[in-house]
Each structure stands twice: as structure tokens, then as C-alpha cells.
Symmetry: C2
Subunit: 319 residues, 2 copies
């Protein structure tokens, strides 16, 4: 019989989970006390928090525990990188039914630990509770290393818009899963499903883009048009995207053909790849690993080769 959380009990579960986490160089007091203590060498700390709920943000039949751990960590660590900060620590509240297998919970811990390792951070604390379905409350912290945080409000006309990481792939992968397509039959499609299950934000490029003088930056979590729309609004500018730079690649095109979808819709509105998008002064050049996808102009809103993107919105909870 496979052991469940109820078999193991809260305190043994905590022990088993925390044993999976390396002690990071920024962790001064780790799990096991009332609170953790993290180094904040910059005397400022970047903080972001997110909820992930089973059935809304992931499905256990579509994602393994390890997948969910990667995704939960990635979406928060990407927010830290999008401020131009180096991720330092992750804190995870985990609620689950008593009949969940211990194996699933440990796989989740492994996924969290592995994604933190990609970003140079570690899991430094958390909380465990029982619940009817799985719920994660994840908080990530980061260090600015002496740089100013890169906000959404600093874009200026003439800035170059650059993208680090992919967009649309996670959304296409989700569409393949939703449609029940046999995605394993096609390596390109399997890659899209993996992008949904385990987004791979380009963490080091957050500090890199800050260091070259990015005026504005965010991670693409709600879709390129919607997230750039937040920058455009906060900065009082228009952002014009270059369709040629956003052309869908072969897997996106073939998945779209299979599903009767428009691959550009995925590219423009798909969230959850957690790419970084930044507005750079022209003098900064385009750092390695980034590509130019548009430019900042006077005006308002987000346009595509000068045409409106109305209707290319993104996700709205309760909407």
C-alpha cells in the first residue's frame, strides 16, 4: 500500500519534506523555528507571493508533483527576476488532502528544490495544512545587489522592447492537454506540454537586463499584450510589437493547425511561460539571450505593427 499524508502525520511529513531542501547561502535560519531568517545584503528585499490551486492552476492528471513544484517555484522566482533581483529564498504553504500519497508530496518538494536551484535560491520555510484539494501559497524573495528595482512605470519613447524566454508555448501545451491530443506522438507538441508543466524562466537575464539599464520590465504571466499593456499604462507610452519577431515556430504552427487555433493568439495572449520582457534604452543593445520584439512610442496601449490589439486580452480572474 502506498503511504498517505495521514499515515505519516504532519511532523514526519515536515521532516521528510525539509530533508529534500538544500540550505542556501542566503539562509541564516532555515525551516523549524517560528520563522526563517534570510540574508538581505542589499538592505532591501524583493518580495512576491502567489497562490496555486488544484483544478485552477494545475491538474494532477496533467502534471506530476514534480511538475507542480517546478511551476509553483518558477512563477514566483520569475517575478523576483523581473524586478532585476537575484532570487534568494522561497517559502511554501502547502495544503493537501490526508489521502494524498507521500510520494506526490515529496515529488512536489523535489520540483520546488530543483527549480529553486535553477534560480540560485533555496526553499527556506513553509507551512503545512490539511485541505480538500491541493493548494500552494508561494512567496519568493530576492536581493537587488545594489541596483534600483526595475518597475513597470519607467518605459520611455524610443526604448527597445526585448523578450527573454518564450511566449505562447505553455498556452499551446495547455490547449493540447485540454483537447486530449496524443502529444507524445509529436516531439514538438511534447515540448509544448512540457512548457506548460515546467516553465523555464530565464532568471539570470533579470539582473542582466537591470544592469544594462532597463527602464521597465515584467514577467509574462498573463499574456504579452496584457502584461505589456500594464507597462504601457504605468509608463504612459504606447508599445508597438513587431509581428515578424513574434512569428510562431514550427511546433506552435503544427499544434495550431491540429487544433484549428491561431498560433499568434497563443504568442500574444498566452501566459505562464514566465518570459521576461523589458524596455531598454537604444544605447543598451540587446543582451545575449534576448531578442528585439518591438519599440516604445508616444501614445497609449499595445499595438501590433501599428494596428490595435483589442480583443487580444489575457486572463482575468472572476472575469
Amino acid at each position: 500500500m502506498t503511504a498517505t499524508l495521514r499515515d505519516l502525520g504532519e511532523f514526519e511529513l515536515i521532516r521528510a519534506i525539509t530533508a529534500r531542501f538544500a540550505r542556501g547561502r542566503d539562509v541564516l535560519v532555515g525551516p523549524g523555528d517560528d520563522a526563517a531568517v534570510l540574508a538581505a545584503p542589499d538592505a532591501r528585499v524583493v518580495v512576491t507571493t502567489d497562490l496555486l490551486l488544484e483544478g485552477r492552476h494545475f491538474r494532477r492528471d496533467w502534471s506530476s508533483g514534480e511538475d507542480v513544484g517546478h511551476k509553483a517555484a518558477a512563477q514566483n522566482l520569475a517575478d523576483v527576476a523581473a524586478m532585476g533581483a537575484r532570487p534568494t529564498g522561497l517559502f511554501v504553504g502547502f495544503a493537501a488532502p490526508g489521502d494524498l500519497t507521500v510520494d506526490w508530496a515529496l515529488a512536489l518538494a523535489d520540483g520546488l528544490a530543483a527549480e529553486c536551484a535553477r534560480a540560485g535560491a533555496t526553499v527556506a520555510g513553509g507551512d503545512i495544512s490539511s485541505a480538500d484539494s491541493i493548494m500552494l501559497g508561494v512567496t519568493a524573495l530576492g536581493d537587488l545587489e545594489g541596483r534600483a528595482p526595475v518597475l513597470r512605470s519607467g518605459a520611455r519613447p524610443d526604448d527597445v522592447v526585448v523578450l527573454a524566454g518564450s511566449v505562447g508555448r505553455a498556452e499551446a501545451g495547455l490547449a493540447l492537454l485540454t483537447a486530449g491530443v496524443d502529444h507524445d506522438a509529436n516531439a514538438g507538441w511534447a515540448g509544448l506540454v512540457t512548457a506548460h508543466r515546467r516553465p523555464r524562466p530565464p532568471y539570470p537575464l533579470g539582473p542582466t537586463l537591470a544592469a544594462v539599464g532597463a527602464h521597465a520590465m515584467c514577467d509574462v504571466s498573463d499574456g504579452l499584450v496584457q502584461d505589456l499593456g500594464h507597462i504601457a499604462t504605468a509608463s504612459g507610452v504606447r508599445i508597438d510589437l513587431d509581428p515578424a519577431a513574434l512569428a510562431a515556430d514550427a511546433p506552435l504552427r503544427s499544434a495550431a493547425a491540429e487544433l484549428g487555433a491561431d498560433p499568434l493568439d497563443w504568442v500574444l495572449t498566452g501566459g505562464e511561460d514566465h518570459a521576461l520582457v523589458a524596455c531598454l534604452p537604444p544605447s543598451a543593445g540587446v543582451p545575449a539571450g534576448c531578442e528585439r520584439i518591438g519599440q516604445v512610442l508616444p501614445g497609449t496601449g499595445v499595438t501590433l505593427a501599428g494596428r490595435p490589439t483589442v480583443g487580444r486580452g489575457g486572463w482575468n480572474h472572476f472575469g
Copy 2:
């Protein structure tokens, strides 16, 4: 008709909620970007996180939105104080059904803001999602102001055990609610129910106890015996409690008589008042607002006037 979250939509809801939050002196970048930036003047930051789930940690028919806000903030801010730190910022992930009233969500925000104000902190960021029931993922941060964090592992024989705040009252209030007793008919009972709904941790005494040299400290969230048991285990000592110092007051005694309960059980095992308990060197004296409730001895475990407290356990999720 009363407006619901679905009527308002995610972005308007975020706007309405964040408008309730004062911008604290430690908040360098507040809500609205990918992440917040908080001052960490000590170059270390204390961090703790908790989940609160409707039906497990609170019931909407027993607690108002404002009550839940107070409680959610209090249980995290108390953990920060229990490290000897000054609370600085709170981050709140909030998931709720689309048919929840906007009024309830705003009352929650008011309760969070008010409890943060009690502790000298502010709400500095968060996340909103839809869900079938209300869930909160709360993270609190604090500043050590140059002091060493007070851990559970530092208690030494001859230390004096002191309590700041009340114990057992929240548990008694919950017992009254569970039994359906008309608690409003009795001012003492009403006070116990309030203690359950809005615990009042003595935040400033955390830094005070650290400053006078506390060797160990924690907040009482799982019950005095269980939480002191963690200190005893981590420190390799025995903690002996003085029953005279833990005598139940009149409201606890009368509520226990009404329910056929033992008031000492509530005092020894009731969590969620979020009192602070600390082990001090005898030379430190007993700071104002604290009372002596026992002493640290060589040995193991927690005893009551030398007798075992076996069976006086506390809460175990999945147990």
C-alpha cells in the same frame, strides 16, 4: 443587490483592496508591480508564511471578514515577533468564490490593515485568484534591528519561563461557538469568542524579550505544552510549568463549567491566542506585560509541577 467579486472583476477588486492599505515606512515599492520592495535595514530579514482555509481555520458564519483579516495577520505577525523582530510587511494571497460579496473582501482588507497597524507593519503586496472557498496564504516579514534572532534551541537550565499574552481563551471561545452556546449573554464568554476571532498577540514584547536576552522564544499557536515541547526538544532541556501561574480566570472557569470541560486543558493545549512564551536568564527579570509561568530544568519534555503532561498534546494536521 449586493455586488460580488464577479461583478467587480479582478483588477477593480485589486484596486479597491489596495486602496485600504496605508503605505508603510518600510515599503519602498508597494502593490502593483511584479513584486514589492521592502526595507531590510538590518541586512537580514525574518520571514514566515501560513495558510488559512475556510472551514478549517475559520468559518464565515462564526467570523466576519474583518475578524478573518485580523486573525490571518495576527498569526503571522506573531511568528515574526517570536523571533524577536519588529514586523515590517505582510503579503497576502487571497482566493475566493466569484459570488463572495465585495463587502466581505473589503472587510477582510480592513481587518488585515488594522492588525498590521497594531504591529507597526503594513500590507505590501499580494495575489488574487478565484476558488471554490476562501483561502489565504499570508507571509509576514520583520527586521531584527541588530539583535540575534531568538530561536527555540537556546533554553538553558535555570532559565525562567515567561508568558506574554493569554492562552486558552481562543480555544474556549471556539468551544463556545462549536457548542452553539449563546455567548453574547455573558460578557466573559463574549470575550472568549472575541479571543478566537481576533487574537491579540503582544507584538512589542517580542523585541523586548529579545533585548533583555531571551535564550529561547516561540509563539503559542499549537498549545502551550506542545509549543514549549518544541523548545524543550530543540534545547535539550525540561520545562516545568507552575500550575498556580496558569490558573484559569473566571470566564474560562465559567465557560468550562457550562461545557463540562476542564479549563486547564484549554490553558495547556489551546492554540491560536498567539501569546509569546520565552526562556530568560534569571538575571533578566520579568519584563512588564509578562508573567513567570515556569522554569527550565535539566532533562526532557514538559512537566506540570513535576508531573508528566502526556496526553496534553496540541494540534496535529493529518493526525
